[in-house]
């Protein structure tokens, strides 16, 4: 149907319902609506839907949910990144860069099997797994895998070129940090092997993996800031890592 040169297809219904048209635009739409029952019905229905949506019931979360979340937080493992040392001088930053790159390469080798769909977690019976939690972790890990794979290609080059400048003390701290995280993952995987349906064992493994991913994430962020020459942000990140 066409009324006053504006056709039904051309009618800016969404903008009209939102009240976004200028006065001339509104008048044009209203002239069309006066002669078009179908569009008049459409506009009325869209307004009805909008009004009804705004008056839907409000739901409240269970009263004890906050305390349950806080209990989960209390049981979270301390970030292993706090074992990292803080370089004292700017000259040490180059060493840090190489050390961080080396750490990234080493830890990715360790975490890669866990990130693949065929990793042991995939053998956990689905019915025994909290669906939302598994979905969340799987999605995080898949995204992390892609993220780190891309980062590693560039970082391996840095590690190779700067490896001769690696400060043995920094490297040792990083190695220790890596061992702590790997040990946690190893123990969690062993626990899960003996109790594949245990939610606690699953969560333990997830937590250890999250710790490792968080460490990698911070390290990548630090390297990026150092590459950009953003000393203030890099310094702040290094403080976070050294806590």
């Amino acid at each position: 149907m066409s009324v006053n040169t504006v056709t039904c297809q051309e009618l800016p219904v969404a903008a009209y319902v939102e009240g976004e048209l200028d006065p001339a635009g509104e008048r044009s739409v209203e002239r069309h609506l006066e002669g078009c029952a179908a569009c008049r019905g459409l506009v009325a229905d869209l307004r009805t839907v909008r009004a009804a949506a705004f008056t839907l019931d409000r739901r409240e979360p269970p009263a004890d949910l906050l305390s349950r979340i806080q209990a989960r937080i209390v049981s979270e493992p301390k970030p292993a990144a706090r074992l990292l040392a803080w370089p004292n001088t700017r000259a040490a930053w180059g060493t840090w860069l190489a050390a961080a790159a080396a750490l990234l390469v080493a830890t990715t080798v360790g975490i890669a099997p866990l990130l693949r769909p065929s990793a042991p977690m995939g053998s956990v019976p689905e019915a025994a797994t909290p669906a939302a939690l598994v979905d969340s972790v799987q999605a995080d890990l898949e995204a992390a895998e892609q993220h780190y794979d891309r980062a590693i290609q560039g970082l391996e080059q840095i590690a190779r070129s700067d490896s001769s400048e690696l400060d043995p003390q920094v490297a040792a701290v990083l190695q220790k940090n890596l061992q702590v995280v790997d040990q946690a993952i190893s123990e969690s995987r062993a626990a899960l092997k003996t109790q594949p349906a245990s939610a606690t064992a699953q969560e333990g493994l997830f937590d250890a993996m999250r710790t490792k991913v968080a460490l990698l994430q911070q390290t990548v962020e630090l390297i990026n800031e150092m590459r950009k020459g953003n000393q203030a942000e890099a310094g702040r990140l290094m403080q976070d890592l050294s806590r």
Binding site: D45, L56, Q70, P130, A139, D240
Partner: protein, 192 residues
């Protein structure tokens, strides 16, 4: 809550709250929870169809605690939290749909289905029917509709939360209303 308006004292207050949460301040975490839990619960409930809302809300606040160190104050802490929450809900929904072999939608995808066809004029809309119609929306469309029409966020805020343009937000909300109208209209027709 728009990022463009996030500056000065509000930004500093958000950064301070995030810093306190990161350092383990339980009162700061509780303040964040009390401010947003109810609205997030409603969103999570309607995004998931009601069944997993409690688990989703728990996951959202645990994720927020773990990731609050990445908050830099580019947007308000609320926008950051809603973005994290909606991403999580959409991930869960899409994984669920993938397992069930359903096709998932995308925020920027053009709508292939002609949903604007004329239909019967709706009489009074029952809340139960409307809830069912919302549940039948594709996830991305549902997210925009819930944020804008149910929770009352502006289109720019919806865009900030969902990581899309303001135009995409408007388009998604309009598509959602058309789909709901079609759903309710078909229901009235079959009932009448």
């Amino acid at each position: 809550m728009s990022s463009s308006k996030h500056s000065g004292a509000v930004r500093n207050a958000d950064l301070d709250l995030a810093g306190r949460i990161k350092s383990g301040d339980a009162a700061a975490f509780e303040a964040l929870y009390q401010q947003h839990a109810s609205r997030l619960y409603n969103l999570a409930s309607r995004m998931s169809g009601g069944a997993d809302a409690e688990d989703l809300l728990q996951d959202i606040f645990l994720l927020a605690y773990r990731k609050v160190g990445s908050y830099r104050g580019e947007s308000s802490l609320g926008t950051w939290l809603y973005r994290l929450a909606m991403n999580h809900c959409l991930d869960v929904l899409r994984n669920r749909q993938t397992r069930m072999g359903q096709v998932t939608d995308s925020m920027d995808e053009p709508d292939a289905a002609p949903v604007a066809a004329p239909g019967p004029t709706l009489s009074a809309v029952s809340r139960i029917d409307l809830e069912r119609a919302i549940e039948a929306l594709p996830p991305a469309c549902r997210a925009a509709f819930l944020l804008h029409d149910v929770e009352g966020f502006g289109h720019q805020e919806v865009a900030d939360i969902l990581g899309v343009t303001e135009g995409t937000s408007k388009s998604q909300v309009h598509k959602a209303r058309l789909r709901i109208r079609a759903h309710l209209g078909a229901r009235e027709y079959s009932a009448g």
